[in-house]
């Protein structure tokens, strides 16, 4: 072997990879825990491991944030490129990673909660066919699926790599690492298992299609530039030294396909078809987690690709890209809002709300200036807090079946007592047909069932109203500041951007209608109609609906979300300043 072909070991700066390593390492340990830790101890071990890893990762992100190489030595570009750009640890990447980790901690708290019914949101054995004796046996034995926790950690690991890579191949792998666990998690709901499996099925097929589009786009960009590294693609675009001449249709097609793959994860129109179905069918804690974290990670990746490749494009080509994004943003805002207005299912409604938010975020992104990055980072945090909080409330409002045994009185207060004997006897057999042996069933997702919640549980309804008001963008909530900065960034883009902002403001106004409608429903519509059935309504709620108590985890998450939403709304400037740091951005 001649010296110049001798193997040279790459230099890896492990210290900058610590946040990702901690989370993925904990995921691997979580798999080992499944194999070696006894049945009873698994859940506590997994919860401690998961929360510990996420908080540890968050701490590592905070420490790295102060690193001088990340923040930029004098006369140097901020950020550290590891393995030639496979990971780029710059303030922007750390900001998005921090948001993902923070939201994942809140999401995991909701996932871990078993409520006063003693059951978590996941099927005892997801592999069992719904309605079979085997499933029944697993339920009666109180089997629980603790693989949820490592799966969440793997997904979070992928979400952390996704916005922090300057290499399109790594981005593709990260896309799959974050998606595959989510496909599985979507299929694991304890109740309404057919819906859950169906959601997973749709998510998977459309997700696989989108990743195929993404990788073909990468192939075209690689074909043009001869590299999958974003910095090298940028250089090739600027210099025009490619066998294929100056940037043209090939680059544009490639970029559009890559963006399509990312917009799918974001849930922007026309790639939104999966969103309502998956949000509705997936276990509610997982819905909250993926709605908030996936969007944060995907917007991080979108910004990186768009701003690096886009700023290398000639102005004319860049305009084509921006026009495409204009159309997507307008369609996303309009469809999310208009279709959201007619929804009658709370989870679907929140799904359309999340689509509309994707549109508002895109408005900020299209501004294509430094403020856009600040606005996006802040908006993602504000949106994520409200979303996780809202879905956490949804997990607590439940349906209950008609009573048969005298034991099953007053579910809301004595639910814990019968948890041991009837653990898991939910309506797993299908959409309808709740077994009568159990009292508390799945989430009460129909809007009608939310009437009177304000009377039954004022705090819960109050928190939910706060999240809705934040989503609507009412002043003194985080959502208002988020929308304001996003639109401000868009105006900063100049030109015809004001049109986009006007559409954004108008659709926000329409959206207020459906958020306020729910608040009115919760506080001012009486739910109890005792004459309808012989069933005694639970404290002003509609018949057949109850509220379960949290074990504590969800309460903590809710309190943190409420505090976050209010704090970001009243004192946004420290976080906005931090977000402005994230503008330091390295290809």
């Amino acid at each position: 072997m001649t010296p110049d072909t001798a193997f040279v070991a790459p230099v890896i700066e492990w210290a900058y990879l610590v946040p990702v390593l901690v989370v993925l390492g904990a995921g691997v340990i979580g798999v080992l825990v499944e194999a070696f830790v006894p049945d009873r101890a698994r859940r506590p071990v997994q919860i401690v491991l998961g929360l510990g890893a996420l908080l540890g990762g968050l701490a590592a992100v905070v420490v790295l944030w102060g690193d001088e190489r990340v923040q930029g030595l004098p006369n140097e570009v901020p950020g550290v490129r590891i393995l030639g750009g496979s990971m780029v640890v710059d303030p922007f990447a750390l900001a998005v990673q921090g948001i993902v980790l923070l939201l994942a901690v809140l999401g995991l708290l909701v996932v871990a909660d078993r409520t006063s019914t003693g059951q978590d949101a996941f099927a005892p054995t997801a592999a069992a066919v719904p309605g079979t004796p085997y499933e029944d046996l697993a339920r009666r034995r109180g089997v629980q699926q603790t693989e949820v926790y490592p799966l969440v950690l793997f997904a979070v690991g992928g979400m952390m790599i996704f916005p922090a890579t300057g290499n399109l191949l790594v981005m593709f792998v990260a896309l799959e690492v974050l998606s595959l666990p989510l496909y599985v998690l979507s299929a694991m709901a304890r109740r309404r298992r057919l819906l859950s499996q169906e959601a997973s099925f749709k998510y998977f097929l459309l997700g696989a299609f989108a990743s195929a589009l993404f990788i073909f786009g990468v192939a075209l960009l690689y074909g043009y530039a001869g590299s999958v590294d974003l910095a090298r693609i940028f250089e090739a675009l600027v210099s025009g030294t490619s066998p294929f001449g100056p940037p043209g249709a090939m680059v544009l097609t490639g970029l559009f396909l890559v963006l399509a793959g990312l917009l799918f994860k974001i849930g922007a129109v026309p790639f939104h078809a999966w969103t309502p179905d998956v949000y509705q069918g997936a276990p509610t804690p997982i819905t909250g987690f993926m709605a908030a974290c996936t969007k944060a990670a995907a917007f991080g990746a979108l910004l990186r690709v768009l701003y690096v490749v886009g700023s290398g494009l000639p102005q004319e080509q860049l305009d084509h890209v921006l026009v495409g994004l204009w159309v997507v943003a307008i369609a996303t805002m309009v469809v999310g809002t208009v279709v959201g207005v007619v929804q009658t299912d709370i989870k679907r409604l929140l799904a359309y709300s999340s689509i509309a938010h994707a549109g508002f975020l895109l408005v900020g992104v299209i501004g294509f200036n430094a403020l856009s990055i600040r606005a996006t980072v802040f908006y993602l945090l504000a949106y994520g807090l409200a979303t996780i909080g809202a879905f956490a409330v949804v997990t607590l409002v439940r349906e209950r079946a008609p009573r048969r045994e005298p034991v099953a009185v007053a579910v809301g207060t004595a639910g814990a007592a019968d948890a041991g004997s009837t653990a898991g006897a939910g309506s797993t057999a299908g959409v309808e047909g709740a077994p009568e042996s159990d009292v508390v069933l799945g989430e009460a997702t129909h809007l009608v069932e939310w009437a009177g919640l304000g009377k039954r549980s004022p705090w819960l309804a109050g928190a939910f109203s706060l999240f809705l008001l934040s989503m609507a963008g009412i002043p003194l909530t985080a959502g208002f500041i988020g929308k304001f900065t996003a639109f401000q960034a868009a105006i900063g883009g100049g030109g015809w951007m004001w049109v986009l902002v006007v559409i954004g403001v108008l659709t926000s106004a329409v959206a207020v209608f459906f958020y306020v409608r729910i608040i009115v429903l919760m506080f001012f519509t009486p739910g109890g109609r005792p004459e309808a059935t012989g069933d005694e309504p639970d404290g002003g709620l509609a018949p057949g609906v109850t509220v379960v108590r949290s074990q504590g985890f969800t309460t903590v998450a809710l309190v943190l979300c409420v505090v976050g939403v209010v704090a970001l709304g009243v004192f946004p400037s420290p976080v906005l300043d931090l977000a402005l740091e994230a503008v330091k951005f390295r290809p």
Binding site: F204, F209, Y222, D277
Partner: protein, 99 residues
């Protein structure tokens, strides 16, 4: 440049795969469409690697294969779970979530 013929072939295969995903009703066939798209991408990567005289494209092709394998594992698991419940792998039968 006759190498471009491979690119046209890759584009055609990709289009066939995409059409399969969008038009076919059987989940397994749809899934095969996705695989065809990924393999068309591999062909494009390898051809571009040849054009540039650069190995990256070939390495990427390996990664895509690995990812495709992982996708098969998860995807078939989901499809089998649904098939065992409903005795059908048709995309049209999976319609409980339509409002």
């Amino acid at each position: 440049m006759e190498l471009s013929n491979y690119l046209y072939l890759a584009a055609i295969l990709f289009a066939i795969g995409a059409t399969t995903v969008l038009l076919r009703r059987n989940a397994i066939i749809v899934f095969m469409g996705v695989e065809l798209m990924l393999n068309a991408t591999n062909l494009a990567f390898v051809t571009f690697a040849r054009i540039h005289g650069d190995l990256t494209g070939q390495v990427v092709a390996f990664f895509v294969m690995v990812v495709a394998a992982a996708e098969v594992v998860v995807g078939l698991a989901i499809i089998v779970a649904i098939f065992r419940t409903r005795r059908s792998a048709s995309v049209d039968d999976v319609n409980l979530l339509k409002n």
